[in-house]
């Protein structure tokens, strides 16, 4: 005999996941997907993906929340928007992948670990200066993830430095307090 409770639970989990995606900017049209595969065929990195974009959308609609959010494929998207430009149903596929990345980050999924480290470094640099300071960001990021990367990037860094392309001090904006107040308010409202 079927356990009716499980079916109800499963159906609601599935609906919740779709609702989360539907609620994010660009996610509104996910129901319109006809699974034509134009997105996967257009994706320059589908070659590296276990779950290319068409399949990811099908998985979202099937409510496969954990499989989707644990998928490494999300982190191969380069945001080139070719899928979005070509989609015959005008689905913002790239923005849906952004939404999935953020969900994976918010839940601390293993595949999102580096992205979370990068996001945290990024927000703290912007909070501090108002502008991104690439060397400062990288040092913070590498410190959290892979300190050895600092050594291997030495030769290129030196070339950039010699050509005046690697500033040693970053710029700061005047309105740092203002920006911090905005970020603080946004974090508070967007918080869990």
């Amino acid at each position: 005999m079927t356990d009716h409770g499980d079916i109800v639970l499963e159906a609601s989990t599935r609906r919740d996941f779709i609702a989360e995606v539907l609620a994010s900017p660009g996610g509104e049209r996910i129901h319109d997907c006809i699974q034509c595969g134009t997105c996967s065929g257009s994706c320059p990195v589908s070659y590296f993906m276990d779950n290319p974009p068409r399949k990811l959308i099908a998985m979202v609609r099937a409510g496969m929340r954990d499989e989707v959010l644990n998928s490494k494929s999300l982190w191969y998207c380069t945001s080139c928007y070719m899928c979005t430009a070509r989609c015959p149903r005008k689905i913002a596929v790239t923005d849906i992948i952004y939404a999935l990345k953020r969900l994976a980050m918010a839940e601390g999924k293993a595949a999102a670990k580096n992205a979370v480290a990068l996001a945290e470094s990024f927000v703290s640099v912007v909070n501090d200066r108002g502008r991104n300071f690439e060397p400062g960001l990288l040092v913070r990021y590498w410190f959290k993830t892979n300190p050895l990367a600092m050594l291997s990037s030495g030769p290129l860094g030196l070339k950039l430095l010699m050509r005046g392309r690697l500033p040693v001090t970053g710029e700061r904006i005047e309105g740092r307090e203002q920006l911090r107040a905005i970020i603080a308010k946004a974090s508070e409202m967007g918080g869990e």
């Binding site: 982190w75 380069t78 945001s79 070719m82 990024f122 927000v123 502008r131 991104n132 107040a181 409202m189």
Partner: protein, 298 residues
């Protein structure tokens, strides 16, 4: 024509040559750039923050500043251009997001009327406001015989509804032709360079760069012209790595379209940031313009 100039963070660092040549060329063709006062980071991609609202708010502060300055924004960086445009677009379309962003901006004493500011890419602004006729008239040393691959990258023309076709744009082709260069067939002109994957997933990004360089080489290009600091950085800075991994011998300089425009207009090298590229552009430029080889090359 006056525009609020939004250089973006890359143009203060790895993309300095783009900043220099943009200012020089715009001044030369009568486009007045007024730097957006106290601009901040564009917010980068919307997963740079775990919370999307934070990204949109960081981005929206710039739109507030431009609205105050009463000018449209011009961004040379394709990523900044896409992010700022997308923020404005979603603020217009999504009432919930509009409400939340407005509340956060208010905490900083700012407000923004969605749709009030038009965000333009530099390539668009230069052609529309400077004008091809004017540009052609300013050419002092045509880039005769220089074979250039016109590389737009992704975010210059996508997602869509921008200033040119999302897959087969022609604006950069037109500009390069006006400068006297020979534009080669380059079917991958809007394919991706890998962007920030070069940091997080190098094998994927290196493969994309290899494809772009190979196509340019096979079509006889002596140079690639780009309109984005990320594209320039990946194709120029990592060309050696591509050669190492794939056993290739690419030696293709990557210049910004503004640098090529400046060279053709006879502007001084120092104003155009020439010599900052890692794969030296001097020899290729010297051949076509009969100039002395620029300083700073190996």
């Amino acid at each position: 024509m006056r525009l609020a100039y939004y250089p973006g963070c890359s143009l203060a660092a790895t993309g300095r040559a783009y900043d220099q040549s943009t200012r020089a060329v715009c001044r030369h063709v009568g486009i007045e750039l007024e730097e957006l006062e106290d601009w901040n980071c564009c917010g980068a991609t919307s997963y740079m923050s775990v919370r999307e609202l934070v990204s949109y708010c960081i981005s929206a502060r710039n739109l507030c500043l431009a609205q105050k300055q009463g000018l449209d924004v011009v961004a040379p960086c394709s990523a900044c251009y896409t992010v700022l445009r997308k923020t404005d677009h979603y603020l217009c379309e999504l009432p919930e997001l509009r409400k939340n962003v407005a509340a956060a901006l208010e905490a900083g004493g700012l407000s923004y009327q969605p749709g009030a500011v038009r965000v333009r890419h530099l390539l668009d602004a230069l052609l529309a406001e400077g004008g091809l006729e004017r540009i052609r008239a300013e050419v002092k040393t045509p880039l005769s015989g220089l074979k250039v691959a016109p590389y737009y990258g992704c975010q210059t023309v996508r997602p869509a509804d921008g200033f040119d076709h999302p897959e087969f744009p022609t604006k950069l082709d037109q500009l390069l032709t006006a400068l006297g260069a020979e534009v080669v067939y380059y079917p991958v002109k809007t394919r991706c360079c890998g962007g920030s994957l070069m940091g997080s997933r190098p094998p994927a990004a290196l493969r994309l760069c290899k494809n772009l360089l190979l196509c340019a080489q096979q079509n006889g290009a002596q140079m690639i012209a780009t309109a984005c600091p990320l594209c320039q950085m990946n194709l120029d800075g990592f060309q050696g790595e591509v050669n190492r991994i794939y056993g290739m011998h690419f030696d293709i300089p990557i210049l910004y379209f503004t640098q090529l425009a400046g060279v053709a207009m006879g502007l001084p090298d120092a104003d155009l940031g020439l010599g900052r590229e890692i794969v030296p552009a001097g020899p290729a430029l010297a051949r076509c313009t009969r100039r002395l080889v620029v300083a700073g090359e190996g």
